[in-house]
């Protein structure tokens, strides 16, 4: 039985991800098309929200994946800090833009949903505001990666930022709940509560969520490959300069 840490070797990762990438990308496409087409064309309108309920199939999955992307970066940063696996740090770097785009999608679709339902594009509601803060965290994280020349130092410093940022993100979440009770409805998907939407909306939503999940996975694998190549490029150029 091979150790899981072997996949942290760049060469091994390249081979494994080359195998996994078509599958995850295919599954992502399949689930996204199924979920979104089902949701858009074949679900009824909600009696209160009308056709805007169709936004749920992109809004909820992207919001969930936006948070999961940060969690994945947190885990990857911890692995880098503790075990110093280079691929882990690069995977965190690769995930950041994906997470940021998901955050923007969640914010944009939220605004487009809020306008007809609440009569406003933007509301300083705890959930909306925490996503805005999450967006700023992604922005700062990516800016720090870009600003530092030495890749290992950049990995170290962004990891520290990710760890500290996560602690403050949790505090911010509670601060926001304290600050304003908000308009946003409760969680749509939860495991412990009774299902609070009916099956007609539930199935396409779960499929769309899987689609966003696989899309995230595929993009992270693909972008990590790119980061590994970029890192190797940097190493080889440095080697050439040293003669």
């Amino acid at each position: 039985m091979n150790s899981i840490w072997e996949y942290a070797n760049p060469r091994k990762f390249m081979a494994t991800s080359a195998f996994l990438l078509p599958w995850t990308a295919g599954l992502a496409a399949l689930c996204l098309v199924t979920g979104l087409v089902w949701g858009f064309f074949f679900t009824p309108d909600d009696f209160r929200q009308g056709s805007t309920v169709k936004i749920i199939y992109i809004h909820v999955p992207s919001a969930i994946m936006a948070v999961n992307a940060w969690l994945m970066m947190l885990v990857a940063s911890l692995i880098w800090v503790i075990r110093r696996h280079h691929v882990s740090a690069l995977a965190a770097k690769a995930a950041a833009p994906v997470g940021m785009v998901f955050t923007v999608i969640a914010l944009a679709t939220g605004a487009l949903w809020g306008q007809p339902m609440w009569g406003t594009w933007w509301e300083w509601d705890p959930r909306l505001t925490s996503f805005l803060i999450l967006f700023l965290f992604y922005l700062g994280y990516m800016a720090l990666w870009e600003a530092i020349e030495n890749p290992d130092s950049a990995a170290d410093l962004t990891s520290v930022l990710c760890l500290v940022g996560s602690v403050f993100a949790v505090i911010s979440r509670y601060a926001l709940l304290f600050w304003n009770q908000g308009l946003h409805q409760g969680a749509t998907l939860s495991l412990d509560k009774e299902q609070n939407i009916s099956n007609v909306f539930w199935y396409p939503l779960v499929i769309a969520l899987c689609g966003f999940g696989f899309l995230f996975l595929a993009l992270v694998l693909y972008r990590t490959q790119t980061e590994i190549r970029a890192r190797r490029l940097k190493a080889l150029i440095a080697q050439e300069r040293m003669g």
Binding site: A143, V160, V167, F168, S172, A175
Partner: protein, 218 residues
């Protein structure tokens, strides 16, 4: 460590040390607000808690990039790192010095500016208390941000981008405390939460800042 604190305070007070700049910024910021929102005392009284907290926060932000940058440029940081002072202690002392030269004057000046902005009388004790308990967190978080960006040329803007989201919980609870104080509501809970954030920041962030400094020095 005491030598370090003494030196930092001395440097801040000498010519070109930047002491008072943050205070002047705070003053100008609060003075400009009525020009932006109009002179109606009712409006000013409503927004005064938020404006004062925001002004204090921005004034703190203004002087953050000096915390480590000057010592980094003239080589002092390398030498301190080889001295018996641990980097964790250095980060804590730097945060303390920043608070004494920036945060504390802001706390003292805030009530005066409160008068300019028609802050309701009941809010003054809460304003002073929340700033007194909250500005150390601003200094500690800022020191961490400064440690992250010390090796980066023209890192000032990046520093703001990194630090501002981290400032948010402190700002929320601090301003909320003053707002509630002004309205005669229960304001102790947000005050205690501000104090909690400060204690947590002071406990954790010097270690994070020292880790960042170690990376930047090697």
């Amino acid at each position: 460590m005491i030598a370090l604190l003494k030196r930092d305070l001395m440097l801040a007070l000498r010519a070109g040390g930047g002491f008072g700049l943050s205070l002047a910024f705070f003053l100008i910021f609060a003075t400009l607000v009525p020009f932006g929102v109009g002179p109606q005392t009712g409006v000013l009284a409503t927004i005064a808690p938020g404006i004062l907290w925001l002004g204090a926060l921005l004034a703190c932000l203004l002087s953050l990039d000096r915390i480590f940058q000057l010592d980094w440029e003239d080589g002092t940081l390398d030498l301190i790192a080889t001295s018996p002072v641990p980097l964790e202690g250095l980060a804590a002392i730097k945060a303390l010095a920043h608070w004494l030269t920036t945060g504390l004057p802001l706390v003292v000046a805030a009530p005066v500016l409160g008068v300019l902005l028609n802050l309701p009388g009941a809010a003054y004790p809460w304003l002073v208390a929340s700033l007194l308990l909250g500005t150390p967190a601003l200094s500690a978080i800022g020191t961490f941000g400064a440690a992250l960006t010390v090796g980066i040329k023209r890192g000032g803007l990046l520093l703001s981008l990194l630090v501002l989201p981290l400032y948010m919980p402190t700002l929320i609870f601090g301003a909320l405390c003053v707002v509630r104080g002004a309205a005669g509501q229960e304001a102790l809970t947000p005050l205690l939460l501000v104090a909690g954030i400060t204690l947590g920041s002071l406990a954790i962030l010097p270690f994070a800042a020292a880790a960042a400094l170690r990376v930047n020095l090697r």
